[in-house]
Symmetry: C2
Subunit: 336 residues, 2 copies
C-alpha cells in the first residue's frame, strides 16, 4: 500500500499547490490585506456580475466613480493642480510683465512658501483663473502635458503620476475586467485631469468629470476654428456638484463610488440612493509613515486639504459604507 500512500500524498500536494497557484493568479487585489474593505469590494463585484443572482446588474449600469485627489493619488501637502498653477506664474509674468508688481503674483514670484501658503482664497482664485483660463484648449493641454512629465513631488522626488495608490489602481482594473465603466469625478479641473487620465489610470478623457469652465469658439487669422478657455464656471464638481456633474456628464447613477473627503459625501449618498446593490467607500488617511495622516475623523490631525470630518465618518458607519484604513487595509501604498 506504500505506493497507494504516495499517490494520495502526491495528489494532496498537487491539489494544495494548484489551489495556491490559482489563488495567487486570481487574486485581483494583491496589494490589499484580507480585511473587511477588500472582502466588501470582491463580494460586491461577485454579486453584481453573477447573472444567476438577483443582485445581478447589467453591464450598461455598472458605473463606478472615483474621486481623484486623496482617493487615487496623493493630495498632501497641496493638490498637484494648485502646484501647477503656482509654478505657471513665472511664465505668465513673462507673457504679461505688468503682473510682476501686482498681488498675488508678486508674492508667488518671491518663492516664499510660507507667504504663499498664507494667501487668502480670493488671491488663490486669481492665480487659478490667470493660469487655467485665457489660452486655447490646445495650448493648455500642451502646457499641462509638459509640466506633468517633468514636475516632481518634493517628498518623494518623483513625478506626481507615479504617486498613485497601487491598491486603487488594482480596483480600477478589477472593476473594468468585470464590465464596469470607471469614471473619475474630481473637484480638480476637468481639462487638467484629462491630459494624463488615460496614461495614468487607463481612464479616457470622456470618462473624466471635473470642475469645468466654459469655452468660446472662435476663428484664427487662417480661418481655422479653435476653443478658448473662459473664466466662466459651468460646474463646481465638489460636494453637491458631484452628483450634479454625474447627471450632466454621465446621466446614470453610479452603483459603486470611492472618495476620501467631505467633498465626496453627496456623491456617495447619491450612489446609495438607487435600487439594487450599492457600495460606497471612503479612504481614510491614517498612515503618516507611508503617506500622510489627516482627518480630523478618529482624532487624526486637522487639515484644509481633503478634510474627512468625524461627522462624515459617523454617517459612513451608520449607513454601512466602507472606510478603508490606509494603514491596516493596504499591503502597500505605491507600486514600489
Amino acid at each position: 500500500m506504500r505506493s497507494g500512500h504516495l499517490t494520495v500524498i502526491y495528489l494532496w500536494l498537487y491539489a494544495l499547490f494548484a489551489a495556491t497557484a490559482a489563488q495567487a493568479q486570481s487574486d485581483p487585489l494583491p496589494s490589499w490585506n484580507d480585511n473587511v474593505a477588500k472582502q466588501a469590494i470582491v463580494e460586491f463585484v461577485q454579486a453584481t456580475t453573477d447573472n444567476t443572482k438577483p443582485t445581478f446588474v447589467p453591464p450598461e449600469e455598472r458605473i463606478a466613480t472615483f474621486d481623484q485627489d486623496g482617493t487615487l493619488w496623493v493630495e498632501h501637502p497641496m493638490y498637484s493642480q494648485v502646484i501647477y498653477c503656482l509654478e505657471r506664474v513665472p511664465a505668465l509674468v513673462k507673457e504679461k510683465p505688468e503682473l510682476k508688481d501686482i498681488e498675488p503674483f508678486k508674492t508667488v514670484l518671491t518663492g516664499d512658501r510660507e507667504a504663499i501658503a498664507k494667501l487668502p482664497m480670493a488671491d488663490l482664485e486669481k492665480i487659478l483663473a490667470a493660469t487655467l483660463t485665457g489660452m486655447t484648449v490646445d495650448q493648455f493641454e500642451a502646457e499641462v502635458s509638459k509640466w506633468i512629465a517633468s514636475a516632481k513631488d518634493p517628498r518623494w522626488k518623483r513625478p506626481f503620476t507615479e504617486l498613485t495608490y497601487q491598491p486603487m489602481k488594482e480596483v480600477l482594473g478589477y472593476l473594468r475586467d468585470n464590465g464596469f465603466k470607471t469614471y473619475i469625478v474630481t473637484g480638480g479641473g476637468q481639462d487638467f485631469v484629462r491630459v494624463y487620465s488615460e496614461s495614468t489610470y487607463g481612464i479616457p478623457p470622456e470618462q473624466v468629470v471635473g470642475t469645468a469652465g466654459g469655452t468660446t469658439y472662435g476663428y484664427g487669422k487662417d480661418g481655422k476654428p479653435f476653443l478658448t478657455k473662459d473664466p466662466k464656471l459651468l460646474l463646481n464638481d465638489n460636494n453637491a456638484g458631484k452628483p450634479e456633474g454625474i447627471h450632466l456628464m454621465i446621466g446614470k447613477q453610479p452603483i459603486i463610488a470611492f472618495g476620501n473627503s467631505t467633498g465626496d459625501k453627496e456623491m456617495l449618498e447619491y450612489t446609495e440612493a438607487g435600487d439594487g446593490p450599492r457600495l460606497s467607500v471612503l479612504v481614510l488617511h491614517d498612515d503618516a509613515k507611508r503617506e500622510y495622516a489627516y482627518g480630523p475623523a478618529n482624532g487624526l490631525p486637522e487639515t484644509k486639504v481633503g478634510t474627512f470630518t468625524q461627522e462624515l465618518y459617523d454617517e459612513a458607519i451608520k449607513d454601512g459604507w466602507i472606510v478603508i484604513s490606509m494603514k491596516n487595509d493596504w499591503r502597500r501604498v505605491f507600486a514600489d
Copy 2:
C-alpha cells in the same frame, strides 16, 4: 478539351457568384445608392481603420458625432420635443390650475394649432421652461418615457422613434462595427434624448450631448437624495455651442460628423480643424414625396425648423464636405 472548357466556365461562374454573395453580405450601407456620399463614407472608414495606411486612426480617437433632429430622425413640421412640451401643458395646468388663464398656457389649452404656431419665441420659452424644469430628474424621465412610447407623428401615425432614417442607422452601426464611438450632439434637451437614445439608436445616455440645464441636489422627507431640474441653462448646444459642448462632454475632436442645418456648421468646422483624415457630412432635405423638402439652399422652400442656408451649402462645397441628397442618395428613408 470540352471538359476543360466546362471547368473554366464553372470556375468563372463560381467566382462571380462568390463575389456577388460576398458583396451582398458585406455591404454595410444597403439603403444607400452607390453615389458619392456612400463612397465617401466607406472610403473614410477604410482609410481610418487600415493600420497599414498612413491615414490610420487609433480606435480611441475614432469619435463620430451626429446631430439628431433632421439628421437621424424627422424634424418637420416641428421638433418632437416641442410637441412633447405642448402636449404636457394640460397635465401641468392640472397640477397648477392658476396657469389656466395665463398666457401662453391659455392659448395652448385651446388646441388651436394656428394660434399656437404664432406664439412668439418668448412664449415658447415659457412653455419649455415650465414643462422641462421644476420636477425631479426621475419624474422627468418617467414622463418622457411614457410619452415617447405612445405619441404619434400626425403624418405617418407612427411613434416618433420609428421615424428614424434607416440609412443613418446603418451608418451608426457601420461606424461602431469599425471601432468608432458614436455620439449624438443635439440642440434638443440632453435629458430628453437620453431617455430613448439607447433603444432607438444604440447610443447610451453618456454618449448624448445636448442642450443642458443645471440640477439641484436635495433631500426628500425620507432623507433620500434626489436631483431637481433647474431652469438655469448650462449649455445651449446649437451653433458654436456644439463644439463647446463636445469639448465639455467628450474632450476630443470628432473625426467624422453629420448634421443637416446651419446649427451644425460649427460642429462640422471643428471636426475639419484637426489633423489627419476628417469627414463632414450634411443631409439635405430635398425629398418632399418620401419625407420633406426644405432649405432654402438649392432653391428649396424656406423653413424655420432646420434651416439649411445657401451660405452653408456653399461652405460645404468649398471645403469638400459631403452633402447627402435624401432624394438621390437614399434608396429608402425609413425601415419599411
